[in-house]
């Protein structure tokens, strides 16, 4: 009994830090990008009904980049810590002017060469509405994200360019 407890404690001493370490790492890597609305605005546009992306991406979109990602937009080599947010709002047209209303979701790209080594250093996540905690992507969806972004390998796997 004493031996069992000792073994349990010993095992726990190894496992708890490993588990906490993994969780901390995961939270850090795919956390909601708080404060991104103050980051640099890369560009905006409108995805309309004529786009094949409309069912999911229809609306007014804006792309934001943190400081490290801005270095990537300049050099097309995105350093670890780069975060890019693709922010999609419901579109509403009034008298010929289309504006953004409620948030549909944000897509997030995070560069971490170690954690996301299998996808060339990029991690992907989606937060629907204004929810900052529920990660909406399945493992397969994340793989699909990167499959598409691989077409932009020569541009650091990022589609957009900074519009000066």
């Amino acid at each position: 009994m004493t031996k069992s407890i000792a073994m349990f404690v010993a095992a726990a001493a190894v496992m708890i830090p490993v588990t906490l370490g993994f969780r901390a790492q995961e939270n850090e890597a795919t956390a909601y990008p708080g404060g991104y609305r103050s980051w640099t605005h890369i560009k905006s546009g409108l995805v309309g009904p004529g786009s094949p992306a409309y069912p999911e991406y229809g609306g007014i979109y804006s792309v934001y980049a943190n400081e490290k990602a801005m270095e990537g937009y300049r050099t097309r080599v995105f350093p670890d810590g780069s975060v890019i947010v693709f922010d999609v709002l419901e579109a509403k047209e009034t008298k010929g002017t289309t504006t953004g209303e409620a948030r549909k979701f944000i897509d997030v790209m995070i560069k971490d060469s170690r954690r996301f080594a299998q996808s060339d250093g990029w991690g992907y996540e989606k937060f629907r509405g204004d929810n900052q905690t529920e990660r909406a992507l399945t493992a397969k969806a994340r793989t699909d994200c990167h499959s598409c972004h691989t077409s932009q390998k020569d541009r650091g796997y990022v589609f957009s360019s900074f519009r000066p």
Copy 2:
């Protein structure tokens, strides 16, 4: 002759500082807002052919605010030094997605209670294309700007709101 020269010098001593002072003040007040693309992005949208504003404002627009103007967006009292930029790009639609191309112009609002006392503290300017030196507005156009913005008196004379 000596007296004339003395009078000329005396007059110049008064006039030159006044002239330089006025120019410096004017340049400071309506200078091109360098670096505004790094300011906070307030919102974006599309002015389409169905809008009465289309002939001048048709395109993808984005609004940017400097730090002082951000205080104004929070309180609807815009402190002196607030600068707001309304940036309009030519719209181009490709497969249902509309993006911004060449810059049509930027409209600029600057808050300076002293210099623009006659228009409730707001000065207005327009820079066409990427031109950073030629001010495109006539005195009448500036008055027209403010006549319209007066409808937003209770909101600090500013139409837009920050879209969190």
